[in-house]
């Protein structure tokens, strides 16, 4: 990996200033995507800004009808959080199927969401629950946040501080794992909050996480796996690779969506 200067600011403002001053600075959260990427020299930031000493980025709390999770919360902390397990078990489940136990001790929700890997789990959880990403500058709804493969609405000097997930009546996540990497070949997050139905898909889209609106319309009539019977997704624009063709992923979206709705209504 190439050399870099290491910074460990103690406030979000200091971190944002470092980003503003250095065009190729990068934020270091858990590092479980960034460090492997740097080893491969696919990323070569001249400055690395470690967020671990910033106090305001941790914590999980119930605020009214939402659960608010600090950006530096590790996957293990989210999946084991009593409040997340009780109020949003689908999100606790999602965090518990990321990577492996050692990875879950390091990887963070903020890092995963900011990275927006097209096969990551959290983007599906955010879009599937209609979360709000709270940054150092503003609040961004998940519908406006994920802009494409590894692309988000974040500005170069903008930092995710917290993510707010609205409580929903029903939700579930179903993931079909890549047998080697354990990333999502296809993952589908479904939720129902009064009349708002969301079906978010990760792993499959050529532009990253996306919603399946015709599934959502069908589920509005009746939130049941039966409502999705016979419905399909076009393989156009889906990823195809050695792990699975676009047609296979399109098929899996239907299967995972039905399983997720069945789980949410069980």
């Amino acid at each position: 990996m190439y050399a870099f200067t290491y910074h460990r600011p103690t406030t979000v403002r200091q971190a944002a200033n470092l980003l503003a001053k250095n065009e190729d600075a990068k934020l270091l959260a858990g590092g479980h995507t960034l460090i492997p990427t740097m080893k491969l020299r696919l990323a070569s930031p001249s400055q690395l800004v470690d967020l671990s000493q910033i106090e305001g980025l941790s914590g999980i709390e119930l605020k009214g009808r939402s659960i608010v999770i600090g950006a530096m919360m590790r996957h293990a902390e989210v999946t084991n959080s009593p409040v997340v397990k009780e109020k949003l078990p689908a999100l606790a489940y999602l965090a518990g199927v990321i990577g492996d136990p050692a990875v879950r001790h390091r990887g963070t929700i903020g890092g995963s969401v900011a990275n927006n890997d097209p096969t990551a789990d959290y983007p599906a959880g955010c879009l599937g629950l209609g979360a709000t990403i709270i940054t150092s500058k503003r609040r961004i709804h998940a519908d406006e946040f994920f802009k494409g493969m590894f692309e988000t609405a974040l500005e170069p000097d903008e930092i995710i501080v917290r993510i707010s997930f609205p409580l929903v009546q029903k939700a579930a996540y179903e993931k079909f794992r890549n047998q080697a990497s354990r990333y999502a070949l296809v993952g589908v997050f479904v939720s129902k909050r009064s009349s708002e139905i969301r079906v978010a898909v990760t792993g499959a889209g050529g532009n990253g996480v996306f919603r399946v609106t015709h599934f959502e319309e069908a589920l509005k009539k009746r939130f049941s796996p039966k409502s999705l019977e016979g419905l399909t997704v076009s393989p156009d624009g889906l990823n195809g690779d050695i792990h699975g063709s676009a047609e296979y992923r399109a098929h899996l979206i239907g299967v995972m969506a039905r399983r997720a709705v069945a789980k949410a209504t069980a």
């Binding site: 870099f4 290491y6 479980h32 460090i35 492996d100 136990p101 050692a102 990875v103 001790h105």
Partner: protein
Amino acid sequence: MSAVAMTVNGKAVTADVDPRTLLVEFLREHLRLTGTHVGCDTSQCGACVVHVNGKALKSCTTFAWQVEGANVTTIEGLAAPDEPLHPMQEAFREHHGLQCGYCTPGMIMSAIDIVNRKGFALEDHVIREELEGNICRCTGYHNIVKAIASGAAAMGGKKAAA
């Protein structure tokens, strides 16, 4: 940048290292604690697992600077040379939970982490699921799973007796 400092196996250590230094490099090359291995170097195989503040992590995917001030335990820290083996090490020996042994330090550190999180009575499927991040290319895992179940029970017995 000044020297990074942390506690490794109960001993305060410090060294002047480049920010690029991975925790596993710090342990192996600066402290000469070569029990922690580098297998894949891509955070998949688990040969590099150590405990930081009591939690298993992959030291090939962590910079030494990220754990400044932390308590690090490596395979060398489980039992002193003149002491009996840690119950989990003893269980791997007893059940022959290894062949070439390359993955073993990581397996044992992950196994103890599983016990810390899941308790002393571990069903086989739990052990197999929790070992997702540790790869062994020799054994087929059968004896590793037996060793961990037995080591977990022994850890429980030791705690009860203490």
